[in-house]
Symmetry: C2
Subunit: 216 residues, 2 copies
């Protein structure tokens, strides 16, 4: 069965987004620094329709991340930055235009029903209103023999972790201090536990730590 | 001039102590898990008067940490867990008995004057009431041609960082999820910035990420 995997970038001081996130700046102040390691990579540029880019350990790792994805799950906040009825959401069309970089079925968790959309390049957006288990079931069915990427944000990640549905996490510790912002699992209330680290890859700009999620 | 270096263990979700810290459990719920990587090491056991222990990459790294220390700075909270006048502090004698594991001069930041104490094995405790710069000046003088270790806790580390007096940080990311607790730089309000990572060492139980502190 397809595994559910979370990849998320964090600062050295443990923030997955900077303070004061807004619709214009959804990652908060300084939050874009967290992702500077990924944007120059050849494997990031290709699905965005861009040529060239950096190769090396980070690039291989990101290519692997894309290759395992048979489907993607994300929260409404990550999709549009908004909340509430879609008619009132100024970014209801999301961030990515007509040819989003996912190229697989994407399942968006929301409380507000909406028709599915077929985009160019293999990306579909399906809006799931009946909960995280339903979204996972649909994503697994769509993923075939590949795995499911949990794209975020932190709130959705916490819900899946707390429900015992998350199989693997890879944190990408960027060489950045943010000094404030959103924590990955800050309000979770899980019991403290050891995890099994399965791989660490380091480059000058980011340290990738992958681990199995304990069943709590 | 002696450099000021902070080494601190953190969980994968970015906590340097668990929730609900008390005098009996100063690291909070689950906080002891953060340090399980260090306690079995031969280089940790030796200064505690214990024989044997694990060798390998983590052990070499911890031996290096001890070897650079010509002096140590710590906060009152780390010294005794208490606050306020020493006469009212039930743990005023601190955690470590007559032969503390430091074996170098230790400078304790406090608002409450107290006579210096000479312990066995080379450890002295000097209580500094005139601020972090004075403590650093005294520690540097004591350190000779070695460096100064900032032992913690998080509040003291933030003060030194914010004052631009901290030279290097090494975070030890333990293979632990805590789900809540104290963040290293959670309330600092520094500007987001890149740092220069100078080394990453990984073992199955902990990933050590060392970086130069930017002058903010």
């Amino acid at each position: 069965m397809a595994r559910l995997k979370l990849d998320i970038s964090t600062s050295l001081d443990g923030f997955v987004a900077g303070p004061n996130a807004t619709l214009e700046n959804p990652l908060g102040v300084g939050g874009d620094l967290l992702h500077e390691w990924v944007v120059p990579l050849a494997s990031w540029r290709a699905p965005h329709g861009l040529e060239g880019g950096e190769t090396g350990a980070d690039d291989e790792l990101f290519a692997e991340y894309l290759a395992f994805q048979g489907a993607v799950i994300m929260g409404r906040k990550m999709f549009s930055g908004g909340a509430g009825p879609w008619a009132d959401d100024p970014n209801a069309a999301a961030w990515w235009g007509d040819d989003p970089p996912f190229h697989v079925p994407v399942f968006v968790l929301t409380h507000h029903p909406r028709e599915a959309e077929v985009k160019q390049g293999g990306t579909t957006f399906t809006f799931v209103t009946d909960g995280i288990e339903s979204a996972l079931e649909q994503a697994r069915a769509a993923a075939g023999d590949k795995d499911v990427a949990l794209a975020g944000g932190a709130s959705v990640a916490q819900q899946y972790l707390k429900a015992g549905l998350l199989d693997e996490i890879q944190i990408h510790v960027a060489n950045v201090l943010l000094g404030g912002g959103t924590h990955l699992f800050g309000t979770l209330g899980i019991d403290p536990s050891h995890v099994e680290t399965t791989r660490v890859v380091a480059s000058p700009s980011v340290t990738h730590i992958r681990f199995e999620v304990p069943r709590v």
